[in-house]
Amino acid sequence: MVVTSQLRTGSVFKVGNDALVVQRILGQKTGRSGMVTRFRVKNIVSGQTSDVALDAGEKFESVDLDIFQMKLSYIDGDTYVFMEQETFEQYEISKEDLGDNAGYISADDDYPIEITFYDGKPVGVTPPILVERTITYCEPGVKGDTSGKTFKPATLDTGIEVSVPLFCDIGTKIKLDTRDGTFVERAK
């Protein structure tokens, strides 16, 4: 069984006989009764996507998945092509199916990525928890503000926008937590 609080982008769980993959985490709210999270999920078989809200206590059956380590070889438009490092076999996953994870990975990355297969078909990826990305645009950095408590929007080399501390500048390399897209620290 898997509970709602364990679900991440790329997680696969079952509703009846259908396997659903989490494409995006749309938002969370906290209250006395715990977290309610809004997800965009895709039915792996029918291809239908839907937005749902799950409270923290709901339990789901986990799905038997095959997981392989691969590298992102190249991006062709909205298609991400991954290569198995021993067999050199290639697998395509659409940007839509990668969901939020598309914003964390780049063909320039050296590290392997876990590709999840369901019924022989790639359905999602799990990037490392921490990834390094480069800021391509943000407002100029504020010198002296190293508290890291005040944030501003920044665009990364993958095109996504995240919140970064004021001291960051264009070209700054940062570490991101891929579970929720939060800034962790400036990369050394």
Binding site: R32, D55, E58
Partner: protein, 409 residues
């Protein structure tokens, strides 16, 4: 969402609804569930209700006719079951005999194991619906989550979200008949005076002319009350100088009330105070409606205060990282349009300073401006009335819920 019920459920016989409630830390959970059950039962073509409650003793405090020792009982036409038990218990037998079709989980309380097995039993094949009835919040997510589909592990067990709230895009607030009648009564001066005299006869009158005093009710989480007592004493002293009325304070039963009474005694009892026994829900409603000002916590009492049309200070449940401030700020934004700027500014400062604290800690700013807000009572009253009237224009929660269920089943 596909149909869960057959046409006969809607047209030919009453809808069956099961309400689940777990009492977490006080009486707001059971208070809401009890009021919702009453309100649903008052509707035209009311549903047939079963309640499953984990703390019948708490329920009995709200409604003394409840037998806290009974595993199964009939009350007000409802079947009431104790949450605790296993698959061989009376509750499980009753739910197997009449299988649940629509289950309301109050505040994401989950389901007892014996009921979980029945709900997810693949035979018979008929579909079931679970509804997560969430906590009251003023935050925008109430509108975002309200009526959203949810999921369970079974394709036969549908699930959906339903959120109470202050805006028209939410499920609204419960307006049961008893509260509505008391509210109407308290809205006229003769009716309110009569109500006050009844309450004083019931609760005891600690001071001469008690019915004409400025009534303040305090129901808050535990805190250091010495500052509040000093503020109330300062406000009371104004009456001696011909400004305003002397006060009469009601301390709600519980740890917060005990500490307020202790601080009051420690300060030399500078004004009359009634340490309340635990009041049944309908009596508590009457007291809130009879008061001039309330300090209010919780779920059900917050909703009652909002609907009362009387000025009040809401204390949000203290959360990790002072997250309650987000909730307070959201509620202030719901209030703001109904007030003149100057009066609202004082109210806002009080709300923020009173809530900006860790559990049982002092306020951060130390600028609780209770006397200035109490002095602004005449200016604040129209704003709170207008706010409550805006809430009344939303449909009441029980009607909205039944409409929602009929739409999706």
């Amino acid at each position: 969402m596909t149909s869960v019920l057959n046409a006969r459920d809607i047209g030919e016989r009453r809808m069956d609804i099961d309400i689940l409630c777990k009492v977490v830390d006080n009486y707001g959970d059971i208070g809401f569930a009890y009021r919702l059950a009453r309100s649903l039962s008052e509707l035209p073509a009311p549903p047939r209700l079963r309640l499953v409650v984990d703390d019948l003793a708490a329920f009995a405090l709200l409604d003394p006719a409840i037998d806290s020792g009974a595993a199964v009982q009939l009350h007000r036409g409802w079947e009431v079951y104790r949450w605790q038990g296993d698959g061989s218990g009376e509750a499980a037998a009753a739910f197997r005999a009449r299988r649940p079709r629509i289950v309301l989980e109050c505040f994401a309380c989950g389901r007892p194991d014996w009921l979980e097995d029945i709900i997810f039993d693949p035979c018979p094949k008929e579909e079931r619906l679970l509804v997560d009835l969430e906590h009251l919040t003023a935050e925008k997510y109430a509108e975002e989550l309200h009526r959203m589909p949810s999921l369970t592990r079974s394709a036969s067990v549908k699930k959906a979200m339903f959120l109470p709230g202050f805006g028209p895009g939410t499920g609204g607030l419960v307006m049961d008949g008893s509260f509505s009648r008391s509210r109407r009564r308290a809205s006229s001066e003769p009716g309110r005076s009569e109500l006050r005299l009844e309450l004083l006869a019931d609760l005891g009158s600690p001071a001469a002319g008690a019915e004409d005093r400025f009534w303040i009710c305090s129901f808050s989480y535990e805190r250091d009350y010495s500052r509040i007592v000093a503020d109330l004493a300062a406000f009371d002293a104004l009456a001696a100088r011909g400004q305003g009325r002397h006060i009469l304070v009601f301390a709600a039963a519980g740890k917060g009330g005990d500490r307020l009474a202790a601080a009051w005694a420690g300060a030399g009892k500078p004004f009359p105070l009634v340490a309340l026994p635990f009041l049944p829900q309908e009596r508590w409603d009457e007291l809130l409606l009879a008061c001039d000002f309330s300090i209010i916590r919780g779920e059900d009492s917050w909703a009652r205060a909002a609907l009362s049309g009387r000025p009040f200070l809401w204390q949000a449940y203290p959360q990790e990282g002072r997250h309650q401030m987000v909730k307070v700020a959201a509620f202030l934004e719901r209030l703001r349009p109904h007030f003149a700027a100057a009066a609202f500014s004082a109210l806002e400062e009080l709300y923020l300073s009173f809530n900006d604290r860790d559990a049982d800690g002092p306020t951060v700013s130390g600028r609780e401006s209770l006397p200035s807000v109490l002095s602004l009572h005449p200016e604040l009253l129209p704003g709170f009335k207008a706010f409550s009237e805006s809430l009344l224009r939303n449909r009441d929660l029980a009607s909205s819920l039944l409409t929602f269920l009929r739409e999706i089943v």
